[in-house]
Point group: C2
Chain length 306, copies 2
């Protein structure tokens, strides 16, 4: 159905087609109108719809989100869009890895029904001027180093929610602050969407899966293990009853500082929902970090209810 529209006015900036591999049919489009049309058709049939928003270069972490969405919804849309407005001026927008062909294979194998892969021009008109902004929840942790990041995230996710109108949307706990920000946005703006947070997926040696891991050379890849080692150590301390934030965080920092290639951006303990700093672990606790390994900024965290 999408191919018919290829001759239309958007043909230059988007694309649409049907991917057939192994007899399974999955559609891909770059056009907002096509997504809307397809989702409305599904709605008319009484089907539920799940959305997995991604920036592409999909890995096992994304796959776990898609798997869960496929299990919980009749139809699943994966958005695959490197959102320019969530990158700061000196960040890695241009370098961010892309591989749409590999993404298509992963989505098809996971059982997704539609990939939305727009060009930036389809999402942002030249005179685009509306943003969703958040106070407080977006200000600590990553919000300190990346002051415009969550404004870009909220805006694009709000747009994706309006385009796809899903029943449920799936986000990884790897980006724990992003998950808190999205939950808060959905609550504050009365969006009728269930936000599903999914556990961090790790490499066999512990490193949290991330599209940015591809930036690491061999030596850095080894050095990057300090993040997960610090996470596991902090988790262990809390399991053993330690509640003092300074005690836990200083031991975690020591692990990271022992690695010459690592430079800490932050290692902090906050409430997992409000992202307010905690001096003592209480309630649903997020212990999160951002660490530069060489020039690559990686994040990791654990959430524990105490």
């Amino acid at each position: 159905m999408f191919a018919n529209k290829l001759a239309g006015r958007y043909a230059c900036i988007g694309f649409a087609g049907v991917v057939r591999i192994g007899g399974i049919l999955m559609e891909i489009t770059g056009l907002i109108d096509e997504v809307r049309k397809q989702v409305k058709e599904w709605r008319r049939q009484g089907l539920t719809v799940g959305l997995v928003p991604t920036m592409g270069y999909l890995h096992e972490g994304h796959k776990s989100l898609i798997d869960r969405a496929v299990a919980e919804n009749d139809r699943v849309v994966v958005s695959d869009f490197v959102n320019p407005i969530q990158f700061g001026v000196n960040e890695d927008l241009d370098a961010y890895p892309r591989d749409i062909e590999a993404d298509k294979r992963l989505c098809r194998q996971a059982g997704a029904d539609l990939i939305f892969h727009p060009e930036p021009e389809e999402m942002y008109a030249p005179d685009f001027s509306t943003y969703v902004e958040m106070q407080k929840v977006s200000e600590g942790l990553c919000g300190k180093t990346r002051p415009t990041h969550f404004k870009g995230v909220c805006t694009v996710v709000c747009k994706l929610f309006h385009i796809v109108m899903p029943d449920r949307a799936y986000f990884g706990q790897k980006d724990a602050q992003q998950l808190a920000v999205i939950r808060r946005m959905v609550r504050d703006l009365d969006m009728d969407i269930q936000i599903v947070g999914c556990p961090i997926i790790r490499e066999a040696d512990g490193l949290a899966k991330s599209s940015r891991n591809t930036y690491l050379n061999e030596e850095e890849r080894r050095a990057a293990l300090v993040l997960s080692r610090a996470v596991f150590h902090g988790e262990e301390m809390m399991k053993n009853g330690e509640r003092d934030a300074d005690t836990i965080l200083s031991q975690m920092r020591k692990i990271i500082e022992a690695e010459p290639l690592a430079r800490i951006d932050y290692v902090e303990m906050t409430d997992a929902d409000s992202i307010k700093p905690l001096a003592r672990a209480q309630g649903r606790v997020l212990t999160a970090m951002a660490v530069y390994i060489g020039t690559t900024r990686l994040i990791d965290n654990f959430i524990m209810e105490v």
Copy 2:
């Protein structure tokens, strides 16, 4: 159906009930969940839904919006909410006139199906922290004198759109910049809602209908006619071929300045969609003004395609 929920946890902050006058049935609720439930039931039945967002104290201007919504949709929701976050610190939030009983009568007579009349606590949690902000379109005209106004408008309208999920929403051209801001928000955030702008409704002597007209004493009420007189004069000049903004605006200003009780906030000519100032009338042109009559700030405008 709503009355059953009165015993629930929201009973203290909202209210729900059925208004029966003259055999016609119209529901009123203060609860987001009740609105959602009702609208979902209508959707299930395949009915279209129109929304008329208001701050209450309804007059013939609002009635013209409801009439149009009733004519174009199977069901009509009127929201009746004095939105605190669109008032500045020294503005008239507390003084803003309210009369829900009269509003109910007008809505019933106009054929609305549901009034949403929430308390501020139902709309804004104590830790509310998400806002929809706009650049450019919201910055000129009223945005200069009321720098946080359109942020409050965009945020509440975004919430109302998510709560009601209407097919169409109706706004008066009296608030011309608000209409431009809402249209831009809907376009930028990909909301699947048709925005319908409706003409200004005037008193017999020309004064644009406004809930704020109630602030005027007899002498001020007479003085307030300088707004519509200036509007009609500017309109006449443009009809007669005048295109130079300065020429048109200076004559309009003269009319207003002749009235001792009037103090100009602005009289300007802009593009009606982008709200960019124009030196020469071209395209869809908005000529707009805000004028204090005593302490009451009134607005008026005309839009002409040239």
